[in-house]
Amino acid sequence: MSAETAETTEILLFQVGARLFASVVHDAVRIGSVRDVPAGELVVGTALGMPFARERGIVVASHGDGAERTLVVDHVIGVRPVTEAELHPLPAFAAACLASGAVTGFVIVDEAPVLLVDLPTLVREHPGAAPQRAA
Protein backbone atom coordinates (compact mmCIF):
# COMPACT_ATOMS: atom_id res chain seq x y z
CA MET A 1 0.00 0.00 0.00
CA SER A 2 1.47 3.35 -0.95
CA ALA A 3 1.79 6.29 1.40
CA GLU A 4 -0.81 8.15 -0.66
CA THR A 5 -3.49 5.47 -0.25
CA ALA A 6 -2.71 4.30 3.32
CA GLU A 7 -5.35 5.28 5.86
CA THR A 8 -3.98 7.64 8.44
CA THR A 9 -4.94 8.63 11.97
CA GLU A 10 -4.06 12.01 13.41
CA ILE A 11 -2.21 11.92 16.70
CA LEU A 12 -1.38 14.67 19.14
CA LEU A 13 2.19 14.65 20.45
CA PHE A 14 2.88 16.18 23.85
CA GLN A 15 5.54 16.14 26.49
CA VAL A 16 5.25 15.49 30.21
CA GLY A 17 8.53 15.87 32.03
CA ALA A 18 11.26 14.57 29.78
CA ARG A 19 9.05 12.10 27.95
CA LEU A 20 7.06 12.27 24.77
CA PHE A 21 3.53 10.85 24.57
CA ALA A 22 0.86 10.59 21.93
CA SER A 23 -2.90 10.51 21.92
CA VAL A 24 -5.59 10.33 19.30
CA VAL A 25 -6.28 13.92 18.35
CA HIS A 26 -10.03 13.51 18.90
CA ASP A 27 -9.39 12.95 22.62
CA ALA A 28 -8.42 16.61 22.97
CA VAL A 29 -11.20 19.20 23.00
CA ARG A 30 -8.79 22.13 22.92
CA ILE A 31 -5.33 23.19 24.01
CA GLY A 32 -4.46 26.30 25.94
CA SER A 33 -2.66 27.97 28.78
CA VAL A 34 -3.34 26.72 32.27
CA ARG A 35 -2.84 30.16 33.84
CA ASP A 36 -6.52 30.99 34.09
CA VAL A 37 -7.63 27.58 35.28
CA PRO A 38 -8.03 27.26 39.08
CA ALA A 39 -5.33 24.99 40.48
CA GLY A 40 -7.89 22.64 41.98
CA GLU A 41 -9.36 21.93 38.58
CA LEU A 42 -6.14 20.85 36.90
CA VAL A 43 -5.05 17.26 36.44
CA VAL A 44 -1.39 17.28 37.45
CA GLY A 45 0.85 14.32 38.17
CA THR A 46 -0.85 11.43 36.42
CA ALA A 47 0.51 8.00 35.54
CA LEU A 48 2.57 9.80 32.88
CA GLY A 49 4.56 11.61 35.56
CA MET A 50 4.87 15.13 36.83
CA PRO A 51 5.25 18.01 34.37
CA PHE A 52 8.23 20.32 34.88
CA ALA A 53 6.90 23.63 33.65
CA ARG A 54 3.09 23.22 33.80
CA GLU A 55 2.76 25.55 30.83
CA ARG A 56 0.05 24.01 28.71
CA GLY A 57 -3.21 22.25 29.26
CA ILE A 58 -5.02 19.72 27.13
CA VAL A 59 -8.73 19.93 27.78
CA VAL A 60 -10.23 16.47 27.72
CA ALA A 61 -13.87 15.42 27.71
CA SER A 62 -14.24 12.67 30.24
CA HIS A 63 -16.09 9.53 29.21
CA GLY A 64 -19.53 9.12 30.69
CA ASP A 65 -20.26 12.37 32.52
CA GLY A 66 -19.12 14.61 29.67
CA ALA A 67 -17.27 16.89 32.08
CA GLU A 68 -14.13 18.60 30.87
CA ARG A 69 -10.83 18.31 32.69
CA THR A 70 -7.50 19.94 31.92
CA LEU A 71 -4.46 17.72 31.78
CA VAL A 72 -1.35 19.76 32.54
CA VAL A 73 1.60 19.08 30.24
CA ASP A 74 4.92 20.76 29.54
CA HIS A 75 4.70 21.15 25.79
CA VAL A 76 2.30 20.34 23.01
CA ILE A 77 4.48 19.35 20.10
CA GLY A 78 1.78 19.20 17.44
CA VAL A 79 -0.41 16.96 15.35
CA ARG A 80 0.84 14.50 12.79
CA PRO A 81 -0.72 11.77 10.69
CA VAL A 82 0.36 8.17 11.23
CA THR A 83 -0.51 5.10 9.25
CA GLU A 84 -2.12 1.95 10.63
CA ALA A 85 1.24 0.19 10.34
CA GLU A 86 2.77 2.67 12.75
CA LEU A 87 0.23 1.88 15.48
CA HIS A 88 0.95 -1.04 17.81
CA PRO A 89 -1.14 -2.38 20.67
CA LEU A 90 0.39 -2.77 24.11
CA PRO A 91 1.71 -6.34 24.55
CA ALA A 92 -0.84 -8.42 26.46
CA PHE A 93 1.51 -9.09 29.40
CA ALA A 94 2.35 -5.42 29.77
CA ALA A 95 -1.32 -4.45 29.58
CA ALA A 96 -2.11 -6.97 32.33
CA CYS A 97 0.62 -5.59 34.61
CA LEU A 98 0.14 -1.83 34.34
CA ALA A 99 -1.58 0.02 37.15
CA SER A 100 -3.01 2.42 34.59
CA GLY A 101 -5.41 1.50 31.83
CA ALA A 102 -4.63 4.74 30.03
CA VAL A 103 -1.64 3.42 28.10
CA THR A 104 -3.15 1.61 25.14
CA GLY A 105 -0.21 1.07 22.81
CA PHE A 106 2.54 2.66 20.82
CA VAL A 107 2.95 4.75 17.78
CA ILE A 108 6.21 4.74 15.89
CA VAL A 109 7.41 8.32 15.48
CA ASP A 110 10.68 8.84 13.65
CA GLU A 111 11.45 5.12 14.18
CA ALA A 112 11.03 5.34 17.96
CA PRO A 113 8.07 3.91 19.88
CA VAL A 114 6.04 6.60 21.63
CA LEU A 115 3.40 5.65 24.19
CA LEU A 116 -0.16 6.09 22.99
CA VAL A 117 -2.39 7.36 25.79
CA ASP A 118 -6.16 7.34 26.14
CA LEU A 119 -6.64 10.82 27.59
CA PRO A 120 -10.21 10.39 28.93
CA THR A 121 -9.11 7.27 30.83
CA LEU A 122 -6.00 9.05 32.11
CA VAL A 123 -7.90 11.98 33.62
CA ARG A 124 -10.62 9.70 34.96
CA GLU A 125 -8.00 7.62 36.82
CA HIS A 126 -6.54 10.72 38.45
CA PRO A 127 -7.88 10.77 42.01
CA GLY A 128 -7.74 14.56 42.39
CA ALA A 129 -9.44 15.38 39.12
CA ALA A 130 -12.29 17.80 39.63
CA PRO A 131 -14.85 18.54 36.94
CA GLN A 132 -14.51 22.01 35.38
CA ARG A 133 -17.88 22.42 33.82
CA ALA A 134 -20.52 20.26 32.28
CA ALA A 135 -20.47 19.98 28.50
Binding site: G45, T46, A47, L48, G49, H88, P89, L90, P91, A92, F93, A94, A95, A96, C97, L98, A99, S100, G101, V103, G105, F106, I108, A112, P113, V114, L115, E125, H126, P127
Partner: protein, 169 residues
Protein backbone atom coordinates in the same frame (compact mmCIF):
# COMPACT_ATOMS: atom_id res chain seq x y z
CA UNK B 1 18.76 -9.21 16.04
CA UNK B 2 18.24 -12.78 17.14
CA UNK B 3 20.34 -15.86 17.66
CA UNK B 4 19.61 -19.46 16.86
CA UNK B 5 19.07 -21.57 19.94
CA UNK B 6 22.18 -23.67 19.72
CA UNK B 7 22.44 -26.79 21.86
CA UNK B 8 25.16 -26.74 24.48
CA UNK B 9 27.24 -29.84 24.97
CA UNK B 10 25.37 -32.30 27.15
CA UNK B 11 26.81 -34.19 30.05
CA UNK B 12 27.54 -37.80 28.99
CA UNK B 13 26.79 -38.94 32.51
CA UNK B 14 23.13 -37.97 32.09
CA UNK B 15 22.70 -40.57 29.35
CA UNK B 16 23.25 -43.29 31.87
CA UNK B 17 20.75 -41.71 34.24
CA UNK B 18 17.77 -42.01 31.89
CA UNK B 19 16.18 -40.16 28.99
CA UNK B 20 17.27 -36.58 28.60
CA UNK B 21 15.10 -33.51 28.54
CA UNK B 22 16.11 -30.23 27.02
CA UNK B 23 16.19 -27.10 29.10
CA UNK B 24 17.15 -23.58 28.17
CA UNK B 25 19.78 -22.09 30.45
CA UNK B 26 20.36 -18.44 31.33
CA UNK B 27 22.77 -16.82 33.72
CA UNK B 28 21.04 -14.49 36.10
CA UNK B 29 21.22 -13.55 39.77
CA UNK B 30 24.80 -14.81 39.67
CA UNK B 31 23.75 -18.39 38.93
CA UNK B 32 22.55 -20.79 36.24
CA UNK B 33 18.80 -20.98 35.77
CA UNK B 34 16.96 -23.03 33.18
CA UNK B 35 13.41 -23.72 32.09
CA UNK B 36 11.69 -26.09 29.67
CA UNK B 37 13.26 -25.48 26.26
CA UNK B 38 10.02 -25.62 24.23
CA UNK B 39 8.92 -22.41 25.96
CA UNK B 40 11.70 -20.49 24.19
CA UNK B 41 11.23 -19.35 20.62
CA UNK B 42 14.38 -17.30 20.14
CA UNK B 43 17.08 -15.26 21.79
CA UNK B 44 16.99 -11.56 21.02
CA UNK B 45 19.19 -8.61 21.74
CA UNK B 46 17.40 -6.11 23.97
CA UNK B 47 16.88 -2.92 22.00
CA UNK B 48 16.40 0.56 23.42
CA UNK B 49 13.80 0.29 26.15
CA UNK B 50 10.66 2.36 26.28
CA UNK B 51 9.71 2.60 29.93
CA UNK B 52 6.06 2.22 30.81
CA UNK B 53 4.27 4.51 33.26
CA UNK B 54 2.76 2.82 36.31
CA UNK B 55 4.61 -0.40 35.57
CA UNK B 56 5.89 -2.75 38.29
CA UNK B 57 9.67 -2.93 38.78
CA UNK B 58 9.89 -6.37 37.17
CA UNK B 59 8.63 -4.86 33.90
CA UNK B 60 11.40 -2.35 33.09
CA UNK B 61 9.96 -1.56 29.69
CA UNK B 62 9.27 -2.72 26.19
CA UNK B 63 11.39 -2.83 23.06
CA UNK B 64 10.81 -3.49 19.42
CA UNK B 65 12.07 -6.56 17.65
CA UNK B 66 11.33 -7.09 13.96
CA UNK B 67 8.47 -4.61 14.22
CA UNK B 68 6.93 -6.33 17.25
CA UNK B 69 6.72 -4.66 20.66
CA UNK B 70 7.96 -7.04 23.37
CA UNK B 71 7.67 -6.67 27.15
CA UNK B 72 10.86 -7.29 29.10
CA UNK B 73 10.65 -9.36 32.32
CA UNK B 74 13.35 -8.89 34.96
CA UNK B 75 13.28 -11.93 37.25
CA UNK B 76 15.75 -10.23 39.62
CA UNK B 77 13.30 -7.44 40.33
CA UNK B 78 10.43 -9.89 40.70
CA UNK B 79 12.21 -11.78 43.47
CA UNK B 80 13.37 -8.67 45.31
CA UNK B 81 16.95 -8.63 44.09
CA UNK B 82 18.90 -6.09 42.05
CA UNK B 83 17.81 -5.25 38.53
CA UNK B 84 19.65 -7.03 35.76
CA UNK B 85 21.68 -4.30 34.01
CA UNK B 86 20.58 -3.50 30.47
CA UNK B 87 23.51 -2.93 28.13
CA UNK B 88 23.93 -2.91 24.37
CA UNK B 89 24.99 -6.56 24.56
CA UNK B 90 22.16 -7.68 26.85
CA UNK B 91 20.13 -10.59 25.53
CA UNK B 92 16.77 -11.97 26.43
CA UNK B 93 15.00 -15.25 25.83
CA UNK B 94 11.68 -14.78 24.10
CA UNK B 95 9.22 -17.18 25.74
CA UNK B 96 5.57 -18.14 25.41
CA UNK B 97 3.87 -18.99 28.69
CA UNK B 98 0.17 -19.59 28.08
CA UNK B 99 -1.30 -16.36 26.74
CA UNK B 100 1.78 -14.32 27.60
CA UNK B 101 4.73 -13.60 25.35
CA UNK B 102 7.61 -12.05 27.25
CA UNK B 103 11.33 -11.50 26.86
CA UNK B 104 13.21 -12.76 29.92
CA UNK B 105 16.30 -10.62 30.40
CA UNK B 106 19.52 -12.36 31.38
CA UNK B 107 23.09 -11.61 32.37
CA UNK B 108 24.19 -14.10 29.71
CA UNK B 109 22.60 -16.80 27.59
CA UNK B 110 24.05 -20.27 27.91
CA UNK B 111 21.66 -22.09 25.57
CA UNK B 112 20.23 -25.57 25.56
CA UNK B 113 21.31 -28.08 28.15
CA UNK B 114 20.30 -31.73 28.31
CA UNK B 115 19.47 -33.14 31.71
CA UNK B 116 18.08 -36.48 32.72
CA UNK B 117 14.70 -36.00 34.35
CA UNK B 118 15.48 -38.87 36.70
CA UNK B 119 18.60 -37.08 37.91
CA UNK B 120 16.70 -33.94 38.87
CA UNK B 121 16.50 -33.28 42.59
CA UNK B 122 13.83 -31.42 44.53
CA UNK B 123 14.49 -27.71 45.05
CA UNK B 124 15.56 -26.30 48.41
CA UNK B 125 12.74 -25.98 50.92
CA UNK B 126 13.04 -22.17 51.01
CA UNK B 127 9.94 -20.35 49.90
CA UNK B 128 11.36 -16.87 49.46
CA UNK B 129 13.11 -15.15 46.61
CA UNK B 130 13.73 -17.10 43.46
CA UNK B 131 13.48 -20.40 45.39
CA UNK B 132 9.73 -19.89 45.36
CA UNK B 133 9.74 -20.56 41.62
CA UNK B 134 12.13 -23.52 41.45
CA UNK B 135 10.76 -26.88 40.42
CA UNK B 136 14.01 -28.88 40.57
CA UNK B 137 17.76 -28.71 40.64
CA UNK B 138 19.87 -30.49 38.04
CA UNK B 139 23.54 -30.91 37.41
CA UNK B 140 25.67 -31.10 34.29
CA UNK B 141 29.39 -30.89 33.65
CA UNK B 142 29.36 -27.13 34.29
CA UNK B 143 27.72 -27.52 37.67
CA UNK B 144 24.32 -27.04 39.23
CA UNK B 145 21.36 -25.73 37.24
CA UNK B 146 18.26 -24.44 39.00
CA UNK B 147 15.13 -25.34 37.06
CA UNK B 148 12.52 -22.60 37.07
CA UNK B 149 8.80 -23.18 36.75
CA UNK B 150 8.59 -20.34 34.27
CA UNK B 151 4.83 -20.46 33.55
CA UNK B 152 4.16 -20.17 37.29
CA UNK B 153 6.70 -17.37 37.62
CA UNK B 154 5.17 -15.38 34.76
CA UNK B 155 1.64 -15.91 36.05
CA UNK B 156 2.68 -14.90 39.56
CA UNK B 157 4.30 -11.75 38.20
CA UNK B 158 1.10 -10.82 36.42
CA UNK B 159 -0.96 -11.54 39.52
CA UNK B 160 1.31 -9.44 41.75
CA UNK B 161 1.02 -6.43 39.47
CA UNK B 162 -1.79 -4.06 40.20
CA UNK B 163 -4.37 -4.68 37.50
CA UNK B 164 -5.37 -1.73 35.34
CA UNK B 165 -8.20 0.28 36.81
CA UNK B 166 -7.67 -0.79 40.41
CA UNK B 167 -4.75 1.46 41.27
CA UNK B 168 -3.41 4.92 40.75
CA UNK B 169 0.05 6.22 39.97
Amino acid sequence: MSDPIAPAQGDPSTQAAGPEAWFFCLRLLGGRYAFEAPLVTEVVRVGPLTRLPAAPAFLPGVFTHRGEVLPLLDIGQLVGQAAIPIRASTRAALVHCGPWKVAVVSEAVEGLVALSRRSLEPPPAESSGVAEFLSAVGRDRLGAVAILDLPRLVETARARAVPAGSGHA
